[in-house]
Symmetry: C2
Subunit: 492 residues, 2 copies
């Protein structure tokens, strides 16, 4: 894959001087059009040591309008970043629509170095690259233009480059013992990189390998390709959304039975028993959050349920037992302007908690396959792909020492009606009921199907759904608390 980048490509100074002004002007024009076109551009600059990665990034910064680019040099992760899933740092760096994000170092850096140094196996590298490929596919399906540049030097050229840098007092600081150590691993690094590039070169986002032995050739090539790809995307009308895949499982199972209907909603609890157990459980929960191992984990709680199912009440019974510095409740409503300029999972990624913290999502990323599906807020192809994107997201949460619990609060249609009516006549509850609630209620069968599909496709060994019979509020609340306490006790 590196053949074309070992030919000694070279560009004469006259060509550079002649072409540069035109290119820069065209790039600025394209950037101006991009702001209106409303899609993000993700540029990765990766490659071998000494191949002018940072210099290329600097050049792009010089050529482009700085107000519409964001550059991210990959540094040591901060404590904020270390306490979250590996990809969290990249999610927070994603450029919004209309902007260009340039990454000097990226989600490839770590897996390639780990494999080169033998700390992970080839199958683990492939596993990582599979995740990367799915992540990039998601970005592309969310509209991003993803350009991946690989700066290449042959082994000889790399050696020459390092020596040259070392000889010149002005550039000596660029060459560290670490660079020479990496040089010794050149062959292995090349082999691993090639495998990574091969696994992630797709039709929609192929790797672009650029020879780095002549800086003028390298910079002008990167600039011209960037311009070409930007213009191609800007000048063609947005591609039509991919055709929706065939519909999912049939509307209702043949015997009209499903996971929701199988729940026994007649369970109740006496007030006295409830109050006693509530206090016990809250006490245990509070103790658990002060356990020495609690600080090693994060906790994510997801609350979903139809309107008036008791999400707020359930959440309050938990937070009553927590120190206010420990938890945060994230109510999920319509996305903000900033959130709409990002992939749909972005607004949930941004709120993932640090170690020792509890994040409570009151509604969540499941909106994609519930309300957005039923109300047609997104295309069928979008919610269809969301199931596996959500599973990938939760897989990353769970692999980073985070306890993830997902509660579905279930009530009958009759009980919902009763609660709606009660809300309407109780002055301090009236704010909770809107016309929208009544409209949603009319779509009960469609929601039921969407909920069952959601549970079938996203209740996994690593992140199972807990179905909560909430017809009786007391029963439901205690089931939630008990599940949480039990899970924490198992884990700590």
């Amino acid at each position: 894959m590196f053949e074309s980048a070992e030919l000694g490509h070279k560009l004469e100074k006259e060509v550079w001087d002649r072409e540069l002004p035109t290119l820069r002007e065209a790039l600025l024009d394209a950037q101006f059009d991009l702001a209106a076109a409303k899609f993000p551009v993700v540029i990765l600059v990766a490659g071998v040591d000494g191949a002018g990665k940072s210099e290329t990034v600097n050049t792009l910064n010089e050529w482009l309008d700085p107000r519409h680019i964001q550059t991210h040099g990959l540094d040591v992760p901060s404590d904020e970043e270390r306490e979250r899933p590996h990809m969290w740092r990249y999610w927070r760096m994603l450029p919004p629509k209309g902007k260009i994000g340039i990454f000097d170092g990226s989600w490839y850096t770590w897996p390639i170095l780990e494999r080169t140094s033998g700390r992970i196996k080839t199958s683990e590298l492939d596993q990582d690259m599979g995740r990367v490929a799915r992540f990039e596919q998601m970005l592309i399906q969310e509209g991003a233009l993803v350009l991946k540049f690989w700066m290449h030097l042959s082994k000889d050229a790399q050696k020459k480059r390092l020596k040259l840098l070392e000889k010149d007092p002005k550039t000596r600081w660029r060459v560290t013992p670490r660079d020479w150590k990496h040089f010794e691993l050149y062959d292995s690094f090349r082999q691993v990189s090639e495998r990574a590039l091969r696994a992630t070169s797709t039709a929609a986002s192929p790797w672009i390998v650029v020879e780095a032995s002549d800086w003028r050739y390298q910079r002008l090539t990167v600039g011209k390709i960037l311009l070409e790809k930007l213009r191609a995307r800007l000048d063609n009308p947005a591609p039509p959304p991919p055709p929706p895949p065939p519909a999912l499982q049939p509307v209702a199972s043949l015997d009209e039975m499903n996971v929701l209907r199988a729940l026994n909603l007649t369970r109740t609890l006496e007030k006295k028993d409830y109050e006693e157990e509530l206090l016990t459980l809250q006490g245990r929960l509070n103790l658990l959050t002060r356990h020495k191992n609690f600080k090693k984990h994060s906790v994510v709680l997801v609350f979903e349920g139809v309107d008036a199912a008791g999400k707020g009440g359930g959440i309050r019974r938990i937070t009553q037992a927590l120190d206010a510095r420990t938890y945060h409740i994230q109510p999920v409503a319509a996305p903000t302007e900033e959130e709409r300029a990002q992939p749909y999972l972005w607004r949930f990624w941004r709120h993932l908690p640090r170690r020792g913290k509890v994040m409570i999502y009151d509604r969540s990323w499941y909106g994609r396959v519930l309300v957005e599906r039923v109300e047609g807020f997104c295309a069928e192809a979008d919610w269809q792909r969301a199931y596996s994107e959500i599973n990938d997201f939760e897989d990353q949460i769970v692999r980073s020492q985070t306890l993830l619990l997902k509660f579905w609060l279930s009530i009958s249609q009759e009980e919902q009606l009763r609660r709606f009516q009660e809300r309407q006549v109780t002055p301090f509850k009236r704010f909770k009921i809107t016309d929208e609630d009544w409209r949603n209620r009319e779509k009960w069968p469609q929601y039921e199907r969407a909920i069952c599909d959601m549970i079938d496709r996203t209740s996994t060994e690593i992140a199972p759904w807990t179905l909560v019979e909430s017809e009786d509020k007391r029963y439901g609340r205690l089931k939630i608390l008990r599940t949480l306490v039990q899970r924490l006790e198992d884990e700590l």
Copy 2:
């Protein structure tokens, strides 16, 4: 993921009796329409032991028109199959367009069992599932409808089922000690299966989990879903091809240099030196094919090059040294009718050699990214995705003890003209030159770009291209022979 399939779904006999005739008639109608619609249907029936997989397959066989279905029960691989890449057996079973292929056991069986028994690691399972996902994606992009049924029984239900079968003298034979051994692994099997299903449930081909505790419910559910999906695809006009991704690398590199132009075509060889080395190399080659380890490998040789580059001559210098039972030459021209009814790689898969055999492809699967690209015989999206499909294909070849060598024979445009003219005046060479050759010649720049892209994207560590300077036929032929002999000596 199995929640909905552990509810004890049941279907009354009256419902079954009432619905069955309608379903069967509708299925036969759909099958009739399928023959005209010209896309293949791949049905996988997988799941836990005792969940009626074979019985379901039998039922489908009973309901459908046997002339248009092909059923494949996964048995022990034959010696023919063991001597080829793992997926070869499935490629030969793929249904052609207009037909339905039913697989009782599939490409999932082996990886799931290997992981359940602990013989492979989780990362290796993920690696396998990544390959499976890419394979299925390819099938879907080639037009196939892929339906994946997972027959599920809860642990209790499976136990009950096995005991019940054992008690009845008529069905006792169905339960083997192996089934009970598998039962002990139920929890682990469930966990592994869930991981496999999660990794391969895509929007275009989600797994369909069916509860197997009641046979009427199970069979009718499978039949109805099959009908629903078939009709959905038949009644909707073929989805438009996906929009072409942005164009690849720019036409020419900035300095007009590329891998072809970098070749030194002035190398020549004296006739006497040539004849001497030719005989030596042919002798070594013949000895190598009689080496005791030769029988443990297969050899695949790929010859590509512009018209009149000397492919035939190069091939003959190899076969002269081989026993006729050892090798086969596969000239690749327009696909046959049977081949056109399959994914484009099918006609190359079918000819992969057994151990101890040499298969020589005179032109190859690279036609997809050369002639088909340049002449517009396939959509841009199709040849764009071909690079990674080809890399996956070659990865499988190489992992199955097969030596794969790919030769690109390069000549200059002037030399081609000289050879064309010579062919036209030499009576016994005249058959080699057609109007098409002259037409192709006019597209030299487009071909040059396609060739460079091909080398950049498919010359990999595991399957590198050997670029052969063939301006001087003698020099080229010896380079080919030398490369082959060297490679065999390294390997045996």
